[in-house]
């Protein structure tokens, strides 16, 4: 080419339009936000489910587990026994099926046990001592979190083994004991002192020993009874006591036919255990219909699969030796069961009452300021502290749903408040983000991906032994399942905003650093917000 100048005005230098700042056209600006995904919002244990799935998606299971462990010290247990209400809230259910969060959690929990992973404990020792009363899920959780916060923790457990209802209420075919033992051992290995067969009867005495705070989580073990006219004494047991004895290797004689009275998860566990102990007939009698039972559907399904017979809408009115008289019930317009006057007689060698438990909190009755309800439930404030300063409580003994997950959540929450209280302040909890609703998602970007199913043990083995029924996921399926997460409300760096901006006004900041809007050029068209799969961009009006 010659050195002659380029034609005036007709020929222009590349990219010179960057001198034209089109941001002045804008009436709305896109802003990146984080919203609370429904799974996290729902989790009684306060897990950052989306947070750990994010790491699991990339195959970094150790990192995922560490995020999990920030909230829950028992992932392998929880992945098995949690009723995963998170999955009921999961936005993916609207698209196809919920992400199998519990299965991935279990995979991570097992992965950590297999690989000997240990939680990160960073806080320096505080010099404070905290007593935890009860080594159930709530107490263990509190002990773990308090230890991580730098406090010296002693657990006193009245029973001979740690685990509480995880051990004495949940049959081992749902929760193998080696898993439970390993996760408890890992908590203890952080420096927690466990004193077994050590019942705390006097709280004030315990304070006098030098504990700066006490967390009680003694559970609810006292079986509820019902008035059943017994003409000739049949064999009647209570569910909690029965399961505990089975766990201790003291299985009672049941006979060939067993009736379990109740419709909760415990009733299903008992019936299934009975079946495994060799009974010919395991029957569940419940006064309402299946639709109204408190047990989770899958528990009833699995029980039925294993041959448990269900007698819905029946009330036991009399027991006369092996003859158990039941009255048929109907559900009235208000949803309550009403007697019909029609009766049947069932044959049973043993009747096991699974009607719920009350808390055994008599030892707190004398503590000044502590409120104990007639059913033993103890009142706590928003910090989980009782009326006695420094005395906290959680788990089944406080007003809440009684699940392992809730108990673990109580333990964490109490630990954080105890920590704040010990440091003389209040817990500075971050404000919750607004919910990440399904409507905010742009689901076209998510591929159809049906949920992966967990394999189950062969039926014959389920009916004859206590091997774990539900199998874990392989790494590939766990990864697949993790990758079904929609990342609702939180940027997962899919590059959509970076790609769809017609004005190149989105700057990609590199892995882990997300994006930034270049407001010099952003015209405010809103395409980035509209095409963000997970709803992590909002358009806000420009002011002035």
């Amino acid at each position: 080419m010659t050195d002659a100048p380029k034609p005036f005005a007709i020929t222009l230098d590349p990219g010179s339009s960057r001198a034209n700042h089109t941001g002045s056209w804008r009436s709305e600006r896109p802003v990146y936000v984080d919203r609370l995904p429904p799974c996290n919002a729902q989790c009684p244990a306060g897990e950052n489910i989306q947070g750990w799935l994010y790491h699991a998606e990339s195959g970094d299971y150790a990192a995922a587990w560490q995020v999990l462990m920030q909230d829950n010290p028992l992932p392998a247990v929880m992945g098995r026994v949690c009723y995963h209400s998170c999955e009921g809230a999961c936005n993916r259910a609207t698209l196809d099926e919920a992400v199998s969060i519990h299965a991935v959690e279990r995979f991570l929990g097992d992965y950590a046990l297999d690989h000997g992973l240990r939680p990160q404990v960073a806080a320096p020792p505080s010099g404070r001592r905290v007593l935890v009363v009860g080594a159930g899920p709530s107490g263990l959780s509190a002990a773990y979190h308090l230890t991580r916060l730098g406090h010296a923790v002693t657990i006193r457990e009245a029973g001979p083994m740690a685990g509480g209802m995880m051990r004495f209420g949940i049959p081992r075919y749902r929760l193998p004991r080696d898993v439970l033992d390993a996760e408890i051992a890992r908590i203890l290995s952080l420096g927690v002192t466990l004193e077994l067969n050590s019942k705390v009867a006097d709280i004030e005495a315990a304070f006098a020993e030098g504990f700066d705070a006490i967390f009680t989580a003694v559970g609810a073990h006292l079986a509820k009874r019902t008035e059943i006219p017994a003409h000739a004494a049949g064999r009647i047991l209570d569910a909690a006591g029965f399961l505990a004895r089975v766990e201790m290797g003291e299985a009672p004689q049941l006979g060939r036919r067993v009736i379990v009275y109740g419709g909760g998860n415990t009733a299903m566990d008992v019936a299934r255990t009975v079946k495994r102990l060799g009974a010919d007939d395991a029957m569940v009698v419940y006064r309402r219909s299946r639709a109204q039972m408190p047990a989770h559907a899958f528990e009833a399904d699995e029980a039925e699969d294993e041959g448990v017979m269900m007698h819905w809408l029946r009330t036991i009115t009399a027991v006369d030796g092996a003859a158990v008289t039941v009255e048929k019930m109907v559900i009235d317009a208000t949803g309550r069961p009403q007697p019909t006057g029609e009766f049947e007689v069932l044959k049973a060698d043993t009747l096991i009452l699974a009607l719920g438990q009350d808390a055994d909190t008599g030892f707190l009755a004398r503590v000044p300021g502590v409120e104990v309800a007639p059913d033993g439930v103890v009142g706590v404030d928003a910090r989980m502290m009782t009326g006695r300063p420094g005395l906290f409580a959680g788990g089944d003994m406080v007003p809440a749903e009684r699940t392992v997950t809730v108990a673990v959540g109580h333990g964490k929450k109490a630990a954080r408040h105890i920590d704040a209280w010990l440091r003389g302040g209040a817990l500075d909890a971050p404000e919750r983000h607004a919910p990440a609703t399904f409507e905010r998602l742009n689901t076209w970007y998510y591929d159809d991906a049906p949920r992966s199913l967990q394999a189950e043990l062969a039926l014959v083995r389920r009916q004859t032994g206590f091997d774990e029924v539900v199998q874990g996921l392989t790494e590939a399926t766990a990864l697949y399942e993790a990758r079904r997460c929609l990342s609702c409300g939180n940027c997962f760096e899919c590059d959509n905003c970076f790609g769809v901006c017609p004005d190149n006004a989105v700057i990609k900041l590199g892995p882990g650093n997300r994006f930034r809007i270049d407001y010099d050029y952003c015209k405010g068209c809103g395409l980035c917000a509209a095409e963000c799969p997970c709803g992590a961009i909002e358009m806000v009006p420009e002011i002035g």
Binding site: M1, T2, A4, P7, T11, D13
Partner: protein
């Protein structure tokens, strides 16, 4: 090398010697033989390093040439008449983008009525498209002008149209002296574009320009033409030095010394005019002529100098600006600044022969100051009178008085002549 050769073939040979790299071909009489000749040379390998592209229209032809020139190649095409008009948008565009395309225009009339024969209507239609327009008098000059055209175009980054009279030059067999490849290579260096599409230097060519700069762009286009007034004679001089014969340039006076009447014309008709001049001079009449070699840019000063001293100027031109007269005369009047009267003689439209007798008649009338400002040479007046009469008879509308007059005097027709307009 001397060849007895068809004009089109001579031009094709000369163009091939200029090593065009992209040739776009679309047939239209009378330029077709040129691109046919070039096509044969590309096909048989005599012209190598050249892409010969058969396009779908003249619009396509000029567009391909635009792309080729912007892509950094020496581009050539040829057209005529309707074809030039069909590509008109692209003709303007090539000039606007400053692309040194060379195009042969085989001058031909424009329809309707459709007419394949020679006149300058096509060239005049696009005289202000921003192209340099060169006119050839002879087949030799037609060949030589192409060699100069590439030099001029590339020196200025401005497209050049070489106008050659259809059939009269394109189809006539004459002796043409064709230079050697080495001679042309010495005269015409390889194409070095001012700008081209280059991935390594990715500027944008062809921006939209608004009121804030459009006038300046246009001014610069005009200035480029003014520069061409220097470049064209310089290249012609260099050509003469290199090849030993004169060709091109802005104006070519013939026996103008002492002439009372000077005839001005474009293209091949200058040959006939010179014959008439020779005859007139032999008869003792002070007549000369000026052939205009470059109509755009228009050589105002050079023409003024060439015409100085004449008592009158007669523009013999092969185009009609209906309602006005002739484009050439209009331009010549501007050069002459009223120093002498300029008569327009419209001649040779649609291929009508321009004879020595006809020109001599014009000169005789001029010498007696009996030549109208606008004359149609050899007009078959009875034919047009009859048609005008019929048209008048058919007219049903108009003022009542006029219709009455028509009814009373059926043989009489009122019509407006250019002369009356000037009054």
């Amino acid at each position: 090398m001397l060849k007895q050769i068809e004009g089109s073939q001579g031009m094709a040979e000369a163009i091939a010697l200029c090593r065009p790299q992209v040739i776009c071909a679309y047939p239209i009489t009378p330029q077709t033989h040129i691109v046919e000749g070039l096509g044969a040379m590309v096909k048989d390998g005599r012209l190598s390093g050249c892409e010969y592209i058969n396009v779908e229209s003249e619009f396509g032809a000029m567009s391909v040439a635009i792309g080729a020139a912007a892509g950094g190649a020496r581009a050539y095409t040829a057209t005529a008449s309707q074809g030039l008009l069909f590509m008109a948008e692209a003709v303007y565009n090539a000039a606007g983008l400053g692309l040194p395309i060379v195009m042969t225009l085989g001058n031909r009339a424009i329809g309707a009525p459709i007419n394949i024969w020679n006149d300058h209507s096509d060239a005049m239609a696009l005289k202000d498209a921003g192209w340099i327009q060169l006119y050839a008098e002879t087949n030799q000059e037609a060949a030589d002008l192409h060699i100069q055209a590439f030099r001029i175009a590339e020196d200025l980054s401005c497209p050049v149209m070489v106008c050659v009279d259809g059939f009269i030059l394109t189809h006539a067999f004459e002796r043409v002296d064709l230079p050697t490849q080495a001679q042309v290579d010495d005269f015409l260096p390889p194409y070095r574009p001012v700008q081209r599409l280059d991935p390594a230097n990715p500027y944008s060519i062809g921006a939209m320009v608004g009121p804030e700069a459009f006038t300046e762009v246009r001014y610069l286009a005009h200035q480029k033409m003014i520069d061409a007034l220097d470049v064209i004679p310089r290249v012609a001089a260099e050509f003469e030095a290199a090849f030993g014969r004169a060709a091109g340039g802005l104006v070519r006076p013939y026996r103008t010394e002492g002439a009372e009447t000077l005839v001005v014309a474009l293209g091949s008709v200058n040959g006939t005019i010179k014959d008439v001049v020779d005859a007139e001079r032999a008869a003792g009449r002070a007549v000369g002529s000026v052939s205009i070699g470059a109509f755009r840019p228009f050589p105002l000063a050079e023409l003024n100098a060439a015409l100085a001293g004449a008592r009158r100027v007669v523009c013999l031109e092969k185009n009609l600006a209906p309602g006005l007269g002739g484009a050439l005369a209009s331009n010549v009047r501007m050069a002459l600044r009223g120093q002498a009267p300029v008569h327009t003689v419209i001649a040779g439209l649609g291929g009508r022969p321009i004879t020595r007798a006809g020109i001599a008649g014009v000169l005789a009338a001029a010498a007696q100051d009996a030549l109208d400002d606008l004359t149609f040479l050899d007009l078959n007046r009875p034919v047009v009178e009859a048609q005008l009469l019929r048209a008048a008879g058919l007219r049903e509308s108009g003022p009542i008085a006029e219709n009455l007059l028509k009814a009373l005097n059926p043989g009489r027709v009122e019509r407006v002549s250019p002369r009356r307009m000037q009054e």
